[in-house]
Symmetry: C2
């Protein structure tokens, strides 16, 4: 499993969305060509991405939408509910707590941490903001597996190190800073400028 590229995983996420949309429209089967067309890639790419994980679909008949969606869901670990903690209750933090898509996808924010005493004790979505000094206990009690970092860049590295000590292995980082972690830990950076740069490229080169 170690050789699966980040791009393949990203595309699996996209196929998952495509299939979910098809299900809503009650479409039952789909070809790799159609999946490819919707996602603006080649059908060979679709088949290759899926081939890493076994054999899907029947030659000439395409894929069963429900089955393929469930299989991708299992590959991505989306049939599980994930316990997520949020660190930093500023603007981005506020937006994330109220971003319904996370919960829909099985990512439940069940703890919020901040270092500002004024924010601690505040309630939002039936959650109470906790002081960061309580993080170790809460991570353990609530079995938190993923931490979202939404703090200023200068605090990100040391916070991640703290949570690695507490046993967390997966981080989503909104701070604009690259973070160093041990090999058995994964940090994904959410860089909101990247999509804007794709728009810039499009407008510049059209």
């Amino acid at each position: 499993m170690k050789k699966i590229s980040d791009s393949t995983i990203q595309r699996l996420s996209k196929y998952y969305r495509t299939l979910s949309n098809l299900l809503e429209k009650e479409i039952k089967t789909i070809s790799s060509k159609e999946i490819a067309h919707i996602n603006n890639i080649t059908s060979a790419q679709v088949r290759k991405d899926l081939s890493f994980f076994g054999t899907f679909g029947k030659r000439g008949l395409g894929y069963n939408v429900i089955e393929l969606r469930d299989q991708i869901s299992r590959i991505l670990g989306l049939q599980k509910k994930w316990n997520v903690g949020l660190v930093g209750f500023g603007n981005i933090g506020h937006a994330l707590v109220q971003y319904d898509e996370f919960k829909k996808q099985g990512f439940n924010i069940i703890a919020i941490f901040d270092n500002d005493q004024k924010k601690c004790g505040k309630e939002i979505n039936e959650l109470v903001v906790s002081h960061i000094s309580e993080a170790q206990r809460i991570v353990k009690d609530k079995e938190i597996e993923i931490i979202i970092i939404a703090v200023p860049a200068k605090f990100a590295q040391s916070l991640v190190e703290k949570f690695v000590e507490y046993g967390v292995r997966a981080f989503l980082n909104f701070a604009p800073s690259s973070i160093k972690v041990p090999e058995n830990v994964l940090v994904k950076n959410e860089n909101m400028s990247i999509e804007l740069e794709a728009l810039s490229f499009f407008l510049t080169n059209r």
Copy 2:
């Protein structure tokens, strides 16, 4: 230029960041191998991505960091300042207006629109929230080229259509809905669940 893939453009954004970080550390030259290592891909991929745009670096000497960064900046259109409008002044909208990285990268949010009269007239970062009914005039007056959509999913499609009428060709969409546009228009979707799904994959398959 039409055959450059989304993945290549995304990687160019990453190389741009890598080179900017190196510049801050006053590192003057770098090999494709080192760029590849930092970004967790192959050096062949780095060379291939760059080859679309000409010849860079000297065999055996690597790349001049400043030159390569400037060249990528030009390819991505980042030496220009882009006039950006934000539609929707909810939580995500608030976070985006205060997200300093956009401005640093040359994406200046210079107009905010909402359909809620209570929000109109509010001031933030020396900007005043305008009613959506004023959008056509403001897009023209302020020469807005990119629109960020941060509204509930059900409003996204019709809003994009409106702004396409007003002449906007590039959209960054935070609403969890896929949007149909004419061929000469580009919508990039910012789906914040995708990186979480990569973490889910990592935790599931380690």
